[in-house]
């Protein structure tokens, strides 16, 4: 690790060609600097996971599985693609991916903002529990599966089975939807939805006409107990 600004250690540069992931994460868990640059990630797994402090982390290159998982408070930017489960179970803070994301981006995340400037693969936002996810490109099949809370904004197209078994998450899609999953339906865009979508696009730094988006959510037929079905349980 090399202090860019020796003495003050406001910034630290960590080269994964010479430091291990464990060394990186140990430093990030007890930060001695306010801002970090990570170089040569080369698709390594578990980069910058479990952060709990208000620090900035910039990762220069492609990251592997579970990058920025369980994030709290930190603002993390990946200048490259990310593997499976980016920002999984994030609680707060932000994660921005300047490239594409693999499967299960933002899985089970409770809060914070995940921005994917490129496209996300299958199961984006699976079981999301309060996170906001904004995807600049497309999302793959089975996205927002069992999504419980939070907002997913897709500026491109959505793949097959969007929002299958969805609970109360709100989905906004600008392009086409290949098909909707069970119990997911298109819903009216009311003023409050236009307002929250405008806010989310601004937070993500994306410039689109909100009138081009459609909203999707739960028909609430699947997760409410129906008395006439009681014999089936």
């Amino acid at each position: 690790m090399v202090a860019l600004n020796a003495g003050i250690t406001q910034e630290l540069k960590i080269d994964l060609a010479t430091s291990s992931i464990r060394e990186l994460n140990a430093e990030l868990h007890a930060p001695t600097a306010r801002r970090y640059e990570v170089h040569n990630p080369r698709g390594a797994e578990a980069i910058a996971v479990g952060l709990r402090d208000e620090i900035d982390v910039e990762i220069h290159g492609p990251a592997g599985y579970y990058c920025a998982g369980m994030n709290m408070h930190a603002d993390i930017v990946v200048h490259g693609n990310v593997g499976t489960g980016v920002a999984e179970n994030m609680m707060s803070g932000s994660v921005r991916v300047r490239g594409d994301a693999s499967q299960s981006a933002g899985a089970t995340a409770h809060g914070g903002l995940l921005v994917i400037e490129g496209s996300a693969s299958m199961r984006c936002g699976i079981s999301m529990k309060g996170v906001d996810i904004v995807v600049g490109g497309n999302v793959g099949p089975m996205s927002a599966f069992m999504a419980q809370a939070g907002r997913l904004v897709v500026c491109g197209d959505a793949g097959e089975g969007l929002g299958d078994s969805i609970y109360e998450a709100r989905l906004y899609v600008r392009g086409s939807v290949a098909s909707l999953g069970s119990d997911c339906v298109e819903k009216q865009m009311r003023d409050e939805h236009v307002a929250e979508l405008t806010e989310l696009l601004a937070a993500a730094g994306m410039d689109h006409d909100v009138s081009q988006f459609r909203r999707f959510g739960s028909a609430r037929r699947l997760y409410h107990f129906a008395a006439h079905n009681s014999a089936a349980y």
Partner: protein
């Protein structure tokens, strides 16, 4: 869990480098499959198969894979879940000349398919589920199907989870099951097509930062020919 890697060279100038490019790919998948490993290398004299128990690093070193040349290679690192750890149970499975299959996942109805193959006089030499898929594809090709059609038949006949990479002397093809449970990433440049379970197996390839990176969609065969 298992690891899959494959490299299909489009630029003949890279052929002397095949082994040197391929060894870091299979070594990167050690954590996905530390029990055994295997590979098939293709050059103008045919397909050459190496399978053994142990770590990819040791197996590659013992056979000096880094110095090998050729136009195509597939490899597998195995974390055994359903049958014994022996060289015979390691992938790739090579049931016909030039045909190699590597598999990440598990087939739940392999016993039924194995029985049906036996009615056609096709017997497996191990109790491994992946061997059944290899012999099934081999039978379809022997009946006249091309590789892509044979792989689509896998979707109809097999239950379970799979990412498959199957190669012949001329083709390189990838297929994932309908839920795409098992990971796969493909990188393509003007020089090569490379496939791996995880991106970091591709990270050392030349020109990877400018490669077109794709995650294969469920139930779609991705194939390249030479």
């Amino acid at each position: 869990m298992c690891g899959i890697v494959g490299l299909h060279l489009k630029n003949p100038a890279l052929q002397p480098e095949l082994g040197r490019l391929f060894v870091p790919m299979i070594e990167a998948m050690t954590s996905r499959g530390p029990d055994s490993a295997g590979l098939a290398l293709y050059d103008d004299t045919g397909m050459h198969v190496v399978k053994d128990v142990g770590l990819p690093r040791d197996i590659c070193a013992a056979h000096d894979i880094a110095s090998r040349s050729g136009y195509q290679a597939v490899g597998h690192t195995r974390m055994a879940t359903e049958s014994a750890i022996t060289p015979e149970h390691a992938h790739p499975f090579t049931p016909a000349p030039g045909l190699a299959l590597v598999h990440n996942g598990s087939f739940s109805n392999h016993a039924s398919v194995r029985r049906n193959l036996a009615f056609d006089g096709i017997t497996c030499t191990t109790d491994n589920d992946s061997e059944v898929a290899a012999r099934f594809i081999g039978r379809e090709i022997a009946r006249g199907a091309d590789l892509e059609d044979a792989m689509r038949m896998v979707l109809k006949e097999f239950d379970g989870f799979f990412t498959l990479l199957v190669t012949t002397a001329t083709q390189f093809a990838v297929l994932r099951d309908s839920f795409a449970c098992k990971p796969a990433v493909i990188a393509e440049t003007t020089d090569y097509v490379a496939m791996a379970s995880e991106y970091h197996a591709l990270a050392e390839l030349p020109g990877i930062t400018d490669a077109r990176i794709v995650e294969p969609e469920p139930e779609r065969v991705y194939a390249w020919s030479r």
